[in-house]
Symmetry: C2
Subunit: 398 residues, 2 copies
């Protein structure tokens, strides 16, 4: 007799779980080395040595009550300052520690921001295709999620649709950059256009409309591309970040919210974020991890590793005739399904021991997501299977 | 333009914040050594060496991707098994690892349980006086909180009132044991009576009514008292726990939920808890901390330290004529305010540099909470101030 809401959530989430279990079963049958699992967005480059050193240093040098103790709900002052200084140095912003709230990952950060912003019925716009978890996050706070269509094949947002979808109830536009699942980066020009639309609509409706940026993949940008830092383009912006991908530490749940100093009611918003962190039951970001990221704020995992994977898999799949936008960031590739029913294609791939996720999970049917945060060797081993798959769809691969 | 809900929350929480800032200001004026701050429930006994050793061992011996990586939303199998085995050994229960869900502290655990159980409008009973955060936790999931009166002066629950407050909408009874703010322990007899009432009402209404137990203070029990383990008395029980107090690591946010194996729909409930952990943005309990508690599951902070404080402050305050129930657990003492307006008493105490929290924060006006998780020396230094305070209230202290 758990809640009706949760019964539905369990049904919805069981698809991914089922896929995971099928993959395990397949590995049992044919051997793990013969399964090509591209279904999980799980970082696999080594954790930087600076970060491991930072943990050891903190444990050995800090007093244990300070190291593992309560602090302000927004985080340790030195961690918040280290994050602010690092952002200012890289992006020419003007954060102080007071504009940073340390959080339980980006998932925690997004929930803290949404709890702070949303009254029941407030609308949150998302740019399709998008990370399916956003649905739950918005629903947690009784918000209403509305999808903005992409331009295909570029997978940049349809700005006309964005403008049309904004109503007097719109409270926020949620932007993931670089994008899971497409791997595209929204460039400066797109951000500026979105900012102009929001400003116009703020004026029209007489209240703030916030940009909420979800940036766990910020450091994973290729070919010298820059991911625009949103507070520079729009003042009513919350940037949420996670160290999960940049340090390969997704299990530790450590991230932050950066609040644009120029935001209307910035101080009140910051107060709200602290209270939301507490009320939602996060209380504060894990303390040892706060100390460790402060001591290793410049550490980065090996982005070149993912880039090498990207070149191999993108090159080979397009050679075989598959269609997809070339990934610019993150570690995903969004392939057009040669069967309009993407589920059939996912099944066909599985027969060749290739595990993919259907685009419907990201509100974009007709596509599949391939996560290339895997070993280079696994990609190499998978290529003959992709060849066979391409042959099966010969003539449908335009 | 943050949400109206959050504006109210900020107003409500600013009282505690104001007190904290006043305390800091007072310390600046008269010197930190001359302020007797009994307002915060912040553990201060040293972190056990076994736990620190466990962190170092995990960092030095585990592969970094396993140590800091994603795992099942419910936690690492070995951590869940270590917790289950430890509970079985101590309480004669029959948990397996599958009945344990690792969480971001007890605050996270409670939110995960409530998200799993509550549909909008479902009622949650709490036993007054109670930890004020429960209000926010229940509201997060659109539940309705109802208070059950205490018997005074024992501060055991008024069982008749409990029975009367159960309606067809009651989904759960939330029990904190030992109790913040009173320091009482609900003994086996009380638990059995509450279980009998819930069983009768389950029968009457034809649906489950759950016990949800919040036990961060479980290991802090004095005079050889036992805190009953609730799954032994009532099958539809979720026990939530935090290592914050037992290991003095409140900043790390590590705890768990133990689900009674005999619960109706146990498997579905466990599925719901995992999904809730994910959807709420916790995703999983911090990974290194999961490894560390698994390696030091028997470690305990120095409970005798708090007991020594308890004896000193309770003995002295009652000698001075103040009235309070003798604490049996936790590190709080709930003093009857000699002024019916407890706020006046809190102010009077502050003039003597003693910081207390009014009972209204715990839905029990006319009392004040004193947290004795402070240094023994501070208590000793504070005694002359309590003497002066008692003199001020001479004749009103019975």
């Amino acid at each position: 007799m758990i809640s009706k809401q949760m019964q539905q959530e369990i049904a919805g989430s069981s698809a991914i779980r089922a896929m995971f279990l099928e993959g395990k079963e397949l590995a049992r049958q044919v051997g793990a080395g013969n399964v090509y699992d591209f279904s999980l967005g799980n970082p696999m480059t080594p954790v930087p040595e600076e970060f491991t050193g930072a943990i050891l240093k903190a444990v050995q040098e800090e007093g244990s009550l300070e190291l593992h103790g309560y602090m302000d709900n927004a985080g340790y002052p030195e961690t918040r300052k280290a994050v602010a200084d690092n952002l200012n140095q890289r992006f020419g912003t003007d954060f102080t520690g007071s504009h940073i709230v340390m959080t339980v990952g980006a998932a925690g950060a997004l929930n803290v921001v949404l709890k702070t912003l949303l009254d029941p019925g407030d609308e949150v716009l998302v740019l399709a295709p998008y990370f399916g978890e956003y649905r739950g996050y918005v629903a947690n706070h009784q918000g209403v999620l509305r999808e903005v269509k992409p331009n295909i094949p570029s997978f940049q947002p349809d700005l006309e649709d964005l403008e049309n979808k904004i109503t007097e109830h719109t409270k926020a536009l949620l932007i993931n950059n670089p994008v899971n699942p497409t791997g595209v980066i929204y460039p400066e020009e797109t951000i500026q256009k979105m900012a102009a639309i929001l400003r116009k609509k703020q004026e029209e409706y007489g209240h703030e409309i916030y940009m909420v940026s979800d940036e766990p993949y910020r450091e994973l940008a290729y070919d010298g591309r820059q991911v625009p830092f949103l507070t520079k383009y729009y003042e009513n912006t919350f940037v949420t970040y996670s160290f999960s991908k940049s340090l390969s530490i997704p299990g530790e749940r450590i991230g932050y919210i950066a609040v644009c100093p120029g935001m209307a009611g910035c101080k009140e918003a910051l107060g709200g974020l602290s209270v939301a962190n507490r009320i939602l039951g996060f209380v504060n970001a894990p303390s040892l991890m706060q100390k460790a990221v402060a001591l290793s704020v410049d550490a980065r995992t090996d982005v070149a590793y993912y880039d090498r994977n990207r070149q191999l898999i993108y090159g080979r799949l397009t050679d075989l005739g598959f269609t997809c936008v070339k990934p610019q960031g993150a570690f995903y590739l969004f392939l057009k399904s040669p069967d309009p029913e993407e589920g059939n294609f996912v099944k066909a791939a599985k027969k060749h021991h290739i595990l993919l996720v259907g685009g419907s999970a990201f509100s974009c049917p007709g596509y599949v997501r391939l996560a290339y945060c895997v070993s280079y060797e696994m990609i190499e081993r998978s290529l003959p299977a992709f060849e066979k798959l391409a042959k099966e769809y010969q003539g449908q691969l335009t």
